[in-house]
């Protein structure tokens, strides 16, 4: 199975992390999370399980909302969104994320776009998956320069959601809010513990010999390369055709 594309492992891992959700929302320019959600939906469909609903923000086709851009947040506040994805220019070992910028706020350089809905959704969506392909010390820092949204909250703060896992181009971590901190769950094929330790600016727990991230089986891979890539290409045509080129290269 050396022909598995690294992003196929990410997509399959996301589908696994989402197992059990009824409704997952995905940001506008998040093709890999979208593909993971679509793969889960296809797997459930094949198994005759209850359907998985996917809302892709900013998409016309996958927009099930009719009350303007506030509806995503209302819907999450009602407990009707089970999973969401967040990234960040910086993510630290307490699960804090920074989408605003580097340096002494408010004078940030570079300045990133801003916090979007993170300061709310991180609190009210039960399964937030932190997803960032780039795995480097500039992204995974000891302490973020600006906390767009905190990974954990004091006792007594209303919080029904938070980080469940961190998925990068090199590895998968789980999050323990009691400690708080990340635990390395598995390494993607071709990546080692020392490499990940060097690329990560915060400490994390890990086994002496962490397992490899689970690979998709043949049937899952066929579903992903067939039905899912077809569905994905409707919303992310460039991403889908790039993936197809690289798989067949």
């Amino acid at each position: 199975m050396t022909d598995i594309h690294p992003r196929e492992i990410l997509i399959t891992t996301i589908a696994r992390l989402l197992d059990g959700v009824r409704h997952v929302a995905v940001g506008a320019s998040s093709p890999i999370p979208a593909a993971g959600a679509m793969l889960l939906r296809a797997l459930k469909q094949r198994a005759g399980a209850p359907p998985v609903r996917i809302s892709i923000l900013g998409s016309v086709e996958h927009n099930f909302f009719t009350n303007g851009s506030v509806e995503l947040f209302d819907c999450a506040g009602q407990g009707r969104i089970d999973a969401f994805f967040l990234g960040g220019g910086q993510i630290d070992g307490h699960g804090n994320i920074n989408l605003v910028g580097i340096g002494d706020y408010p004078v940030s350089a570079p300045r990133w776009p801003g916090s979007f809905g993170s300061a709310y959704l991180y609190f009210v969506v039960p399964r937030v998956i932190l997803f960032r392909e780039e795995h480097s010390p500039r992204v995974f820092v000891e302490k973020v320069d600006f906390t767009s949204a905190p990974g954990i909250s004091e006792p007594g703060i209303y919080r029904t959601g938070g980080p469940m896992a961190l998925l990068t181009g090199k590895a998968l971590f789980s999050f323990d809010k009691a400690r708080p901190g990340f635990t390395l769950e598995s390494l993607h094929p071709g990546h080692g513990l020392d490499e990940v330790r060097e690329a990560t600016g915060f400490r994390f727990e890990h086994a002496d010999r962490p397992p490899q991230t689970e690979l998709p089986d043949r049937a899952t891979l066929d579903l992903l390369r067939g039905q899912v890539m077809h569905e994905l290409s409707e919303t992310y045509p460039e991403f889908a055709s790039q993936m197809r080129r690289e798989i067949h290269a």
């Binding site: 016309v60 303007g68 709310y120 949204a149």
Partner: protein, 271 residues
């Protein structure tokens, strides 16, 4: 009404509410606002900003931006906005999307504030002395919750597919445009076309209509969201936004692009 006439309603120091890039940005008004030249504007992005914000900042008309984010989407960061922040020459009031919506909802209801969960522990809150945290009076134990004060922008500006001769505007399911209009003192709308039938005349079109009651003026501006797209009408011209992003990396490039832009836009409008 023409765009220039509408732009003259904007006075220096006013707060303008502007919609997110996919909801219906009146790019046609951007040019008119720059030509008009009223400065010291406070922009209120519902809930994020893009090209329009970047161009108004680049033209030196902006004093502050309240927003949950500013970017050019696939074309990357907003160059003039980011430069202005690095130079410290605009004030940015960082928010989070639902807080922007909450501020408009408070105004819509005539309320001084609207509560909002989340945010506590975020640096956004730390830099917003205008927001308050109270203890939820309905909880038995301590339960802090954020209150967002009402935002009552002077003028809301957006672009929509159509209006009728009574001033009713069809906004479809982009109800944040209605929220902006409810909250604002004045609402200026550009549209692709004026239709002859009364949009409130049948239940199907009425469902997506912002009543004239909330609309100050309407002007026709075909392809008025370009280079952004307009839902149900035309797609975003990503190549043009990339061209802008590249040009606007420097102040000079921005000036050159903007000097050439009206012609480009008129050409587009003529299609």
């Amino acid at each position: 009404m023409d765009l220039q006439g509408m732009a003259r309603r904007v006075e220096a120091g006013m707060q303008l509410a502007l919609p997110v890039d996919y909801a219906g940005v009146s790019m046609a008004m951007t040019q008119a606002l720059i030509a008009h030249g009223a400065g010291d504007l406070d922009l209120f992005c519902v809930p994020t900003g893009g090209l329009q914000v970047d161009q108004l900042v680049g033209a030196g008309l902006v004093r502050s931006v309240e927003t949950s984010a500013v970017s050019l989407g696939e074309a990357g960061g907003a160059p003039r906005f980011n430069q202005a922040i690095a130079e410290g020459c605009i004030v940015v009031r960082d928010a989070t999307c639902p807080a922007i919506h909450a501020a408009l909802m408070a105004a819509q209801k005539g309320n001084p504030f609207q509560p909002l969960r989340g945010i506590i522990g975020s640096d956004i809150l730390r830099f917003r002395p205008d927001w308050r945290v109270i203890d939820n009076p309905f909880a038995e134990d301590s339960d802090p919750i954020v209150l967002i004060p009402a935002a009552r922008p002077d003028i809301a500006i957006f672009h929509a597919p159509m209006a009728d001769r009574h001033g009713n505007v069809w906004i479809g399911r982009r109800r944040e445009l209605a929220a902006m209009a409810y909250a604002a003192q004045q609402t200026l709308v550009t549209v692709e076309r004026i239709v002859e039938e009364n949009l409130l005349g049948n239940e199907m079109s009425a469902a997506g209509t912002l009543p004239a009651l909330y609309v100050t003026e309407v002007a026709v501006a075909p392809r008025g969201a370009w280079p952004y797209g307009l839902w149900g009408e035309y797609a975003t011209d990503t190549a043009e936004i990339l061209r802008y992003a590249k040009a606007a990396r420097t102040a000079e490039g921005f000036a050159e692009y903007m000097a050439a832009a009206p012609a480009g836009q008129l050409q587009e409008s003529g299609r």
